[in-house]
Amino acid sequence: MAVIDATGRPPAASGAVPRPVRSRSPLDHLVPTGREEAWRFTPLRRLRGLPSGPDADGTVSVSVQAPTGVAVEQLDPADPRVGRVLTPADRVAAFALARATDVTAVTIPAEAALTEPVVIRLHGESPRTGAGAAGSGVAYGHVIVEIGPFASGTVVLDHTGSATYAGNVEVYVGHGASLTVVSVQDWDADAVHLGAHAYSVGRDAKLRSFTVTLGGELVRLNPTVEYRGPGGDAELNGVFFTDAGQHQEHRLLVTHEARSCRSRVTYKGALRGESAHAVWIGDVVIGADAVDTDTYELNRNLVLTDGARADSVPNLEILTGEVVGAGHASATGRFDDEALFYLQSRGIPPAEARRLVVHGFFAEVIDRIEVPDLRERIMTAVSARLGELPADA
């Protein structure tokens, strides 16, 4: 039995991955109470009522910048392409699917090789405070990305502004295609964003995704991956910087049912300030027929100050012994004092030493984003936060 558990727990104790109800109908999902596995880390009172599906009274505008050849459409919510990849696993995602009147679909045709990224800008125009504040700013959204067989390209989802937003994203990767998806949550400080990001990976297809969460008061994302055939390869990378008062939650589920597929999950987060709360849940299921699976998931958190809290829970459920590899690792720690001493002993002042260590920590993930100006923007945003670090952190 090639069962590997990097936490050292016996596989039995790593437990079964919870199987929530999956349905398009909101009423099939219970109202969360906070006792459910899926909601136990989420501050429900800060969701502004999203689990009860309030009417939209806010706006998240969507604009798409796409290279020639890429089709950009507004779909009717009844279009059969809606819900092809995503079957909601919670009430908020189901309400978002039911209430989103605007469905934006981006289609990269078969065998296209994009040299420029598709950029989908989602801008919240409903701040809760200050000029223009009105109501609770609730908005629903739905984005579909499809890349045809043997095509390659990059799609950026750029979330800015402010709203109380429940937005689903469905990504359909054609057979043999290669797709990079970067979702940036660079919201203003008062935004709430809940989203199900569902990826379906075709036979011999490659998906690289980057989830970068920087802003917002509360962000809770559920990336899920399924494979439609053997040979699929999914890399789910994540970076988050959780500041005082922010709640950032990433709950991932990778389901291996097809044989010979690979998945790599790498999430890195930094936290600082009072009541900064980051949650990372990494669920991986390897079904009985998913022989030759190769999976590894990793979460590292760097706690920069007192008062911040990181919850990190990897779950691996393996129903076949014939895997190439299945492991996970999770670690939350503070600055490595010896690394800081080493840098300072070379004349580098303490604040710059900390900046270098944090840059290095994130670089492993951020450097792999092959969109130069976006990569710069993310590193700059991280640097700006570090510039405010107290000297004794």
């Binding site: 001493f341 080493y342 840098l343 002993s345 004349g347 580098i348 002042p349 270098l356 290095g360």
Partner: protein, 268 residues
Amino acid sequence: MTTAVSTLEIRNLHVSVDTEEGPREILRGVDLTVRKGETHAIMGPNGSGKSTLSYSIAGHPKYNVTDGSITLDGEDVLAMGVDTRARAGIFLAMQYPVEIPGVSVSNFLRSSATAVRGEAPKLRTWVKEVKAAMTALEMDPAFAERGVNEGFSGGEKKRHEILQMALLKPKIAVLDETDSGLDVDALRIVSGGVEAVRAQGETGILLITHYTRILRYIKPEFVHVMAGGRIVDEGGPELAAVLEDSGYDRYVKGDGAAVPVAKAGAVS
């Protein structure tokens, strides 16, 4: 502007570390003077306080100086932070250099040189300078793109330490067991790097070692023997030869307390 001489003076240095049983004194009154251009070897058995001395000079927070002084050209080193000491001209080549994942060697070297020199080195000349220093240490150029000490072999780590010394041109360089874990080839290369810095005559070197092996490549003018947290014997190169034959036994008695046996010659 020229500085006539750079002098590190250590006087009556007492250093303790915190343990579960309370503070434990490791250095019990160390006196030592190292001047620019001089090479001193500090030798001694395990646990004699050699590494504590080197970390105390560099300012590692784990070591508490309870008495005595360290000055560099009259400036109070103990009042300086770790980075200030480095900028004042103190360099410690570490026995166990730590990994800093994701920070490239080239970025690190440039940040360090910028800090120590007080301005960013001109890119053109800097690239050449680094390349020349790496070539002298027989380092592959690809090395510069790796993460600092990430996955380095023992020999690579030590070469990287000496590379930094060559680029930062310190007034005083403390080499903490730089010879440990090196095979003969690596020892030859690393020693060559130290010799090159020494030949410029601008750096005082404090070579801390357990073994006499490295002294075949780097010839110190002064040899000090440390035991029980003190310097118990001092002499010229001939003292190293004595140690090669007889070891440290005569300096260590039962409980590890130091017993000076012979003063092998006055050291100024």
